[in-house]
């Protein structure tokens, strides 16, 4: 095993999913996934924070899109009667620990400075 910097595995994007890929600074207190400074909301990763009911309802809030995303995949897979559509999202989102997983979307996500508009 080669030693590697731990990368943040938070899912980014809406239709075109990717992984954050910034250097992790902590592990989520709930699920243990590595998270970067941007994605550590308190002691939790954004997904676990959402699961605990911390979902902004206002689209002006940069964190809104993440909470809306899971709801959208649930509803749109019903609209299209396409269970695979939801499960492929869900698997991607939960599959954050797979070794050898691609971290960022062709490098697009892995921005060096901290200010990332699309993520909370």
């Amino acid at each position: 095993m080669t030693s590697q910097v731990n990368r943040c595995t938070v899912t980014t994007g809406f239709f075109v999913l990717g992984r954050c890929g910034r250097a992790a600074v902590a592990a989520c207190g709930q699920c243990g996934r590595p998270v970067c400074a941007e994605h550590a909301t308190g002691a939790l990763c954004p997904e676990c924070a959402l699961a605990q009911g911390y979902a902004p309802q206002d689209p002006h809030d940069p964190a809104w899109v993440r909470g809306y995303r899971r709801r959208h995949y649930e509803r749109s897979s019903q609209t299209y009667n396409d269970a695979y559509w939801y499960s492929s999202f869900d698997e991607y989102d939960r599959g954050a620990f797979n070794p050898g997983d691609e971290y960022s979307y062709g490098g697009g996500d892995f921005d060096d400075d901290g200010m990332d508009f699309v993520d909370s």
Binding site: V16, H60, Y68, R75, Y80, S88, D109, F117, V118
Partner: protein, 242 residues
């Protein structure tokens, strides 16, 4: 001077926010991150401006902003996101077509009918997988103006209208993108056309009910937008891009 404070607040808004308030729209191409100050400026609208004349179009905050968020989430920071918004509404000049008469029978004296076509939102986003997404929403309204004599002999004029929102989404995939046909067809209200070529083009068109809350409209638009992405589901899309 009246409204001095609110007028001053509008002067401090982001120029695109100001254009929405004073002109009812804008047409602009910005890099992804340059949309954030626009959204933040819009977020503060109600706090600073209460005069009805300067109200923000409801669709700007409840449809355009969520769509900006969704598209931006799939972009690189240097990707360009273009928006042409015309929120003046279907009654703005130039949107009504010619009137014509429909057959009328007593007590109806005359029926005039005309259509208004209001393309009020167009967006184009360069996505991070190399595909380009174009989205447009057009309100089509049928109007009828009915002149009628009531039992007491008085002439009454009634106007009726019915509208639909036509949503069209086109996604142009990058060359040699990994594509798979979705396992289920779209629902009957979504029409899909796929053009094969060096770049696959997927076009989804649908009419969604015109008179519904903006949140439902946004959801409807995003459901139509979903179809072109079902051809590259999450896992597959990532592998295809490597």
């Amino acid at each position: 001077m009246f409204w001095r404070k609110q007028r001053a607040a509008i002067e401090r808004f982001h120029p695109l926010h100001r254009a929405l308030v004073l002109e009812g729209g804008f047409s602009v191409s910005l890099r992804r991150d340059d949309w954030e100050p626009v959204i933040q400026s819009l977020a503060g609208h109600a706090q600073h401006v209460r005069r009805r004349k300067w109200a923000l179009p409801v669709r700007a905050q409840r449809v355009m902003v969520p769509l900006l968020r969704v598209l931006a989430a799939d972009m690189r920071r240097d990707g360009v996101l273009s928006v042409a918004a015309d929120m003046r509404g279907p009654d703005a000049p130039g949107k009504a077509g010619p009137q014509h008469d429909l057959p009328a029978r007593r007590p109806v004296l005359s029926v005039k009918q005309w259509y208004t076509v209001d393309p009020w939102l167009r967006m184009r986003a360069e996505l991070r997988d190399g595909s380009v997404l174009e989205l447009s929403v057009t309100e089509r309204r049928r109007n009828r103006r009915i002149r009628k004599r009531n039992p007491r002999g008085k002439i009454k004029i009634k106007q009726k209208s019915k509208s639909v929102q036509v949503v069209q989404v086109v996604r142009r995939l990058p060359k040699d993108a990994a594509v798979r046909r979705p396992g289920s067809p779209p629902p009957p209200w979504v029409r899909v056309r796929v053009k094969q070529g060096s770049r696959l083009v997927i076009r989804a068109t649908a009419k969604v009910a015109g008179e519904q809350a903006e949140e439902q409209l946004t959801e409807g638009i995003l459901h139509v937008t979903t179809e072109p992405f079902r051809w590259t589901p999450p896992g597959a899309a990532v592998r295809g891009a490597q």
